[in-house]
């Protein structure tokens, strides 16, 4: 059963406990939804039957409890596993109560275990916590009547939080989710084709006559883009648009633009040759 979401109200709680369920079907639903777990339902039944919590007529209460479960199912209220576990516990206690007591143990004056004892202890403990919850409820209401000096607006805009470890976890999770979303956008953007990559490298070569090939590969945002970059470089070599060279063994691999057109050769002759000489010293094509 889901937890109650409505605000606690002591008056309403008494209503839950005392209102007879012999009303319309709608009333049943209201009452049944209000039980916050099997212990709650049991306490309600004990109060309704006006029996002592220390001497629970287990057969009668078990029967009532099972009737309520049936009713909940009939009304399509999801019966949580905890309610079924309690049903089994009740039936188990009922069976134990029916067994004849060990006459020898009784004769020897041994303490006879009441099969209900554990359940009674749990119910009492649960009751105490309910009362404690009521106490907290009252305290919070009282404290709500007390006001402090509000934090000035200028301090509020730069508000700082006093954080706990779960705030750290939440902040970390948010940052990771954001990073993931960003990465996905980037991957989507980087789904380039070979012809796009070729255009991109050609445009780069227009700006820089010599390109470090490793830099070019490192710019790839994905494995797929890396492969496409590699294919683009091969294509340019094949088209005799570039020359690939490595100045020393295991050194940087560079790619230099070839300028076969006479007019562009002329245009670039002033700054190009020195570069070509340098790089061409140890051609590794």
């Amino acid at each position: 059963m889901s937890e109650r979401k409505e605000p606690i109200d002591t008056a309403a709680d008494t209503a839950v406990a005392e209102a007879p369920p012999e009303g319309g079907r709608g009333d049943y639903r209201v009452h049944l939804d209000a039980f916050d777990g099997p212990l709650d339902l049991l306490l309600y039944l004990i109060r309704k039957e006006e029996v002592s919590i220390y001497d629970i007529p287990i057969a009668r209460i078990t029967q009532q409890y099972l009737e309520y479960l049936r009713l909940m199912e009939e009304l399509d209220i999801a019966v949580a596993g905890e309610f079924l576990v309690m049903a089994a516990t009740l039936i188990h206690i009922k069976t134990k109560m029916l067994l004849p007591r060990d006459p020898f143990a009784e004769a020897e004056g041994e303490e006879i275990d009441d099969p209900r004892q554990e359940l009674v202890d749990r119910l009492l403990e649960h009751q105490r916590y309910r009362t404690a919850a009521d106490f907290l409820y009252q305290r919070r209401i009282l404290e709500g009547e007390v006001f402090t000096r509000p934090v000035p607006e200028d301090e509020k805009s730069n508000a700082e939080v006093s954080a706990g470890v779960f705030d750290l976890l939440t902040a970390f999770r948010d940052a990771m989710l954001r990073a993931q979303a960003l990465a996905e956008i980037e991957i989507a953007r980087d789904e380039v084709t070979l012809s796009q990559k070729l255009d991109e490298v050609r445009a780069l070569l227009e700006l820089n006559p010599t390109i470090n090939v490793r830099d070019l590969f490192e710019r790839a945002g994905s494995r797929r883009e890396l492969v496409i970059t590699f294919l683009a470089v091969l294509e340019l070599v094949k088209e005799l648009k570039v020359r690939i060279h490595q100045s020393e063994a295991f050194g940087e691999i560079e790619m230099t633009r070839r300028d076969p057109e006479p007019e562009s050769l002329e245009a670039t002759s002033d700054d190009e040759p020195s570069m070509n000489e340098q790089n061409g010293a140890n051609p590794n094509e």
Partner: protein, 178 residues
């Protein structure tokens, strides 16, 4: 300084720090030349002064610190003035879970389930979101579950100075059986 000289200094500090309860230690640190006993005496004298005046304000000890706040009997006027709604209520499930955590802390989710007889995860989430509880490390058992305890915010929102002020759980028994 005399107690009468210390009183207005402390009053000004507490007044200027808005809604945060200030621990005694932090007040004493501002006045390093003064003996701690004198500072404490001034604080207590100040509190007595405010009680004697029976004005609109009182000096209270809360969440291990000192804080000025208005007296509860004037809340209606302030609410009228601020046009402010009372803070959101907690569900019975959340309050019960909070009660278990307050009395059994540090306590794990399985232990809370054991006591309440019902899963309390969403109540715990609510309490964490409202900063009423905090994680208190892991329990050294199989699975190393997270332990939870109440926060300073819990003390503030429930008007408690420290956890020893909570009534004994056993004292609630009378209410149970009667």
């Amino acid at each position: 300084m005399t107690v009468d000289e210390l009183k207005p200094i402390i009053e000004a500090i507490l007044f200027a720090t808005a809604d945060e309860p200030i621990p005694f230690k932090r007040i004493a640190e501002i006045l390093p030349e003064e003996p701690e006993a004198a500072v404490r005496e001034a604080l207590e004298a100040l509190s007595v002064d405010y009680d004697a005046r029976a004005g609109g304000i009182e000096l209270r000890q809360i969440a291990g610190g000192y804080r000025f706040s208005t007296r509860a009997e004037y809340s209606e006027y302030i609410r009228r003035f601020r046009k402010q709604q009372p803070s959101a209520k907690l569900s019975m499930a959340a309050l019960e879970t909070l009660a278990v955590i307050a009395y059994k802390q540090p306590v794990t989710i399985p232990e809370i389930l054991e006591i309440r007889g019902v899963s309390s995860s969403s109540a715990i989430k609510t309490l964490l979101d409202k900063r009423l509880i905090v994680a208190k490390g892991r329990k050294k058992v199989v699975g190393r579950p997270m332990m939870y305890g109440t926060s300073k915010e819990f003390l503030i929102q429930f008007g408690i100075n420290d956890l020893t002020e909570l009534p004994n759980l056993e004292d609630f028994e009378d209410l149970v059986t009667s």
